[in-house]
Amino acid sequence: MEILVCVKRVPDTAENEIEVNRDGSDIERDDLVYSVNEWDNYAVEEAIQIVDRVGGSVTVVSVGDEESEEVVRREMAMGANNGILVSDDAFEGSDGKGIAALLKGAVEKGTYDLILTGAQADDGAGQVGGMLAAMLDMTYASVVNYIEVLDNRKLKVGREIEGGNVEMNEIELPCVLSIQTGINEPRYVGIRGIRKVASVDIPVWGSSELGIDAASIGESGAKVKRVDYFVPELGEGAEILEGSMEEIADKLIELLKAKGGIK
């Protein structure tokens, strides 16, 4: 099975405090630690496991600036066979639809049976996979936490819905699936793995390689635009307990006792 996985380089929110810069035009990016979007890492692992079972190859593709190459390389260190970077100044400012259009361009330069995305990325939209599928006229299923290859044309796919229940579907290939965390246990990528792929060539595809209609992408093609970042005025917010750790613990115990939080 030929599988394409879409991966995005994002600030690691578990590692960073995200702050808005002074004029609200961006977040403070200087000291951010970046990594591959958590959901995408599960998607790559799933693709590798499917190929281990039924044969084929895994290609990862990322749309971003040149630094996105590092996440493509990381996922290759994990076991993906090929990597592609889609990058061009003209692509900057694309909205979700623009990103999906660029990924469509990349998909059409190959032949894939299965395309995987993450269920959502750092912007929390969860949109690119569904848009890409519709643009390609392929079937789509979101928040997938179970994939069984039935035969070379059919999958059994579980979608994790509310309450952790799973909605089972039968889907024909080719299709696009967005992957939910927890579907597998992504393998660890060590420094040796990274070294192994340090010198593989990762092609960079821009406007001319993709032959994409410039009107639908970039800032000018975007119907949806982020105006600024801000930190909302909090309502009441929490009462923050101050003092030494011991003092805070004492205050908290008082409060918990009052609220029935200590039996």
Partner: protein, 323 residues
């Protein structure tokens, strides 16, 4: 100028989801006075009950009764909406696993704009809709503009808009079952597999000690176990803890886990994503321990402790134990 406003109604066993009335409030923030249409799909059974209920709140209810609509398969519903809605429609959906499944592709097929997970709406200026979203798991908000001249699909976050309970629309049900068009689909719904039942039932507990990614390591779960034992509570968790297989799925709080209604909820190393908070009901007393003072959990917590939980929680536990 964008067109008519539609809300897709999710319903189960004859009862509309909470989102049905929240979408009205959201729509009113865009169009204060425009007529609103509810789209209700299904196959026989309780469909009429839902339609009649919705007619109290929506000016018009479009009823689609068809075998192929017995289960809300997003691919089928997308076809139905593309076949029946005007091209420049404004379509509202909840941003849950159904809305996430349907909306992005729908916007492409309708050739309209799409905004996901809208948390507030500031209004319409000409053809530009101004909304608010969040990024980075709620750590920052953004103002977003959207050109809705050719229509738009909006996914609205659950619980952020008050339900419109006025029930004063006096609307009518229009049976459109004959107009569905082709509803054939490649994706076939098979069955729902219910979540596994675990060893403890966190939905019945009054005191929950809930851990998130901030617990950092499986071995550290002991720290939460000891606190839970000291205060007579039970350990629950956020999704990453279950993904890592450190605790059973039945301990997960959130939209894709359990809905809990404790009296006291201690959130240790949990950032407070909306999917996590979506499982926390009944207005408990929330204590958050998080080393990041900007973590969104502090916006909803009653009391906050800005400390490393791995250091603070053992101190707290010991004090409780020694009384």
């Amino acid at each position: 100028m964008a067109g008519q406003v539609f809300a897709y109604i999710i319903h189960r066993e004859g009862i509309a989801d909470d989102s049905a009335l929240e979408l009205i409030t959201a729509a009113r923030k865009i169009f204060p006075a425009a007529p609103l249409t509810a789209v209700v799909t299904g196959s026989g059974g309780n469909l009429d009950a839902v339609c009649n209920e919705m007619a109290a709140s929506y000016n018009e209810v479009w009823k689609f009764d068809h075998e192929a609509l017995a289960y809300p398969n997003a691919e089928v519903i997308r076809k139905l909406l593309v076949n029946t809605l005007p091209g420049d429609a404004v379509v509202l959906l909840p941003h849950n696993t159904f809305g996430m499944d349907l909306a992005p592709g729908l916007s492409i097929k309708m050739d309209s704009a799409f905004v996901a997970d809208v948390v507030d709406i500031e209004g319409l200026e000409g053809d530009t809709l101004n909304v608010i979203r969040q990024e980075y798991s709620g750590q920052v908000s953004t103002h977003v503009t959207c050109d809705i001249s050719a229509g738009v699909v909006l996914n609205i976050r659950a619980g952020v808009f008050q339900a419109d309970e006025s029930k004063a629309a006096g609307g009518q049900v229009v049976d459109k079952s004959g107009e569905t068009g082709d509803l054939s689909a490649v994706r076939k719904f098979l069955e729902i597999v219910e979540a596994e039942v675990g060893d403890v039932d966190i939905t019945k507990e009054d005191i929950l000690v809930s851990i998130g990614r901030g617990i950092e390591d499986e071995d550290n779960i002991e720290i939460a176990d000891e606190l839970a034992e000291a205060i007579g509570g039970v350990v629950s968790c956020s999704r990453p803890i279950v993904d890592a297989k450190w605790l059973e799925k039945s301990r997960q709080v959130g939209t894709s886990g359990k809905t809990v209604k404790p009296k006291v909820y201690l959130a240790l190393g949990i950032s407070g994503s909306f999917q996590h908070l979506g499982g926390l009901k009944g207005n408990p007393f929330i204590v958050a321990v998080n080393k990041n003072p900007k973590a969104p959990i502090f916006q909803v917590a009653d009391v906050g402790v800005v400390e490393d939980l791995l250091e603070f929680v053992p101190v707290l536990t010991e004090k409780i134990q020694t009384g």
